[in-house]
Symmetry: C2
Subunit: 345 residues, 2 copies
């Protein structure tokens, strides 16, 4: 990007809507933070997006030229159409033509992407991928759900219709808990904030777990972070829940490492902050279940310098900005269609 | 490939060693079929390979020019080194420098590849991928083990060290049967010929399954094909075993479809011949567990013409020649290194 060029990125979430201007030299120039007005309907949210984009365009177009607009949206998102397909976190948006709506209102082309893919791109280009000099990775975002994105050689890997990388829906416990996707026993049902709440309530109902029971009684809206704090302070029941989360992540990562053989797997999102609770069972299961991992295990210096041709599983670096930064990078990411498409279309 | 150019392909198996000359216009020109002399050691097998290659080079170099030599080998195979890493089907070959040995003996460069990846390339370029006009697929080879290979945009996807695509080792039953890879409950432990024998013996030991028990008594070396024939003739116990194989395939494919979002998944190898026994439970599990599949389900005409942007799960077309043909194609496949590698190396 030459001097004076900027992009605009949008991170559309179920709760927050963030719109930012970004320049490669200086990073985020300005961020507009709005609530996502889901109650007012998708057209109102789209109008908020367009208004924010226009405001930033007006302000920064005086000093430079806009290289493009990128939008990260909750999925499933059908590409290249940019159409939402039954998105669980945007009720009522099924079939919404997000790309056409925004492009029609702005009179400009936009790059549109699943939010987990945008976050993976952000981590690859500006976060842990940059730190380690690695440009291929799989990122898992452990939030309300579990999102996933795959970057190959610096580019988002979309698959046929933009739905590749759904690492939250690899199989963990085949006859296990129902998942929001309609399946059962997916990683998302064991490693998301929602899953941690469910597992906590199940444990309270099943056995004598006094500190968890007290938490549930004093605060019916307790979060996965509350459970993590109990575990960090030594409560054995809360620790067992995070043991199970770590095991599920290790089991899922074993399938991913065996399938993908990438150099880097990145864990982000709020649940990943419990890394010290998760990492021992995670690596135990991963080492036990993946011979590809065992053959490329970096050994005890996992957290230290990068060795060539080893498999790293590490924490994300960009925190909650990964998705927004990734959206800002989309116009640079040479999204000339999808990988893994079919010639018949 | 211009007229008169040919390649040589080698399909190295634990039982058979096949070496062929191939021309794009005419297909396989000649195939040398040898036994793999495992008892005589890896150097003897390498010498057989080189002798066969030289014989075909001498014969066809009179009429045209050799465009390259491709070798498909059992894995795990470390690329680009071409070094075997604890290959379960080639005992005693751990650490064998297959590429260096062959290149040193021939004085020529060779393209070397995991055999399942070579078979996937063969099916993509000359088999079901060609038939359907699709150049990205994941192939599962259901034989003694379960091999896997991923082709993206016509090229083998290697991953960091050549071990991508190990679809036989995605998780099915987390606390299930031990797998040859050292893990537990992998697809290979439920959908390989070896697994079908084990599941049959387990059923004989567990319950009153008279026809299976009679098979086991009359022929202790019975094969998965024998069990399939009992199932095809209506034996309810044998049918339940293939139900379980189909379910395992559907559970594994659901993880793959959610992760990869490819247009085509191809089942090959001997066990896949029981397709009519497998396909109902396979598609039931796949549809139940993969929302990406449900959103791209081609519907009732799965076996008929290809619809754009749908997900197809179909039988391989090339039979046991897929791996050999894929090896012959390797010199054309632009193997300029690996996808998903790291810049630090």
């Amino acid at each position: 990007m030459s001097s004076g060029r900027f992009t605009i990125g949008v991170d559309l979430g179920g709760t927050n809507l963030r719109i930012a201007a970004y320049a490669e030299e200086s990073g985020l120039l300005e961020t507009i933070l709005l609530s996502t007005r889901l109650r007012d309907g998708r057209d109102a949210v789209a109008a908020d997006m367009c208004q924010g984009i226009r405001r930033l365009l007006d302000r920064y177009a005086r000093a430079g030229s806009c290289a493009g607009i990128g939008i990260g949206s909750p999925g499933p998102l059908e590409l290249p159409a940019g159409r939402l397909r039954e998105p669980p976190n945007l009720p009522g948006w099924d079939g919404f033509e997000l790309r056409a709506t925004i492009e029609g209102a702005l009179g400009m082309a936009v790059e549109i992407e699943n939010d987990a893919n945008a976050a993976a791109l952000g981590e690859c280009v500006l976060g842990t991928g940059k730190t380690r000099g690695i440009d291929s990775l799989c990122m898992l975002t452990l939030g309300t759900g579990v999102g996933g994105g795959i970057i190959l050689d610096g580019k988002i890997w979309h698959g046929m219709v933009g739905m590749a990388g759904e690492a939250g829906h690899v199989n963990i416990w085949t006859d296990g808990a129902p998942c929001g996707c309609g399946g059962r026993g997916c990683l998302e049902a064991y490693a998301s904030a929602t899953a941690i709440r469910r597992m906590t309530l199940e444990m309270i109902a099943r056995e004598n777990a006094p500190l968890l029971a007290a938490l549930g009684e004093s605060n019916p809206h307790f979060t996965s972070r509350d459970v993590a704090e109990l575990a960090e302070s030594g409560d054995p029941h809360a620790k067992r829940i995070f043991d199970d989360v770590g095991r599920a992540l290790g089991i899922g990562l074993a399938s991913l490492v065996n399938m993908l053989n990438l150099p880097l797997y990145v864990l982000g999102g709020g649940v990943a902050k419990a890394w010290t609770l998760l990492c021992r069972p995670l690596f135990e299961e991963l080492r036990r279940r993946s011979y590809v991992y065992r053959l490329t295990d970096p050994g005890e210096d996992r957290a230290a310098e990068t060795k060539p041709r080893k498999t790293y599983v590490v924490l994300a670096e960009l925190g909650s900005d990964a998705g927004l930064l990734g959206a800002c990078l989309l116009p640079f990411a040479n999204l000339s269609g999808e990988t893994g498409g079919d010639r018949a279309d």
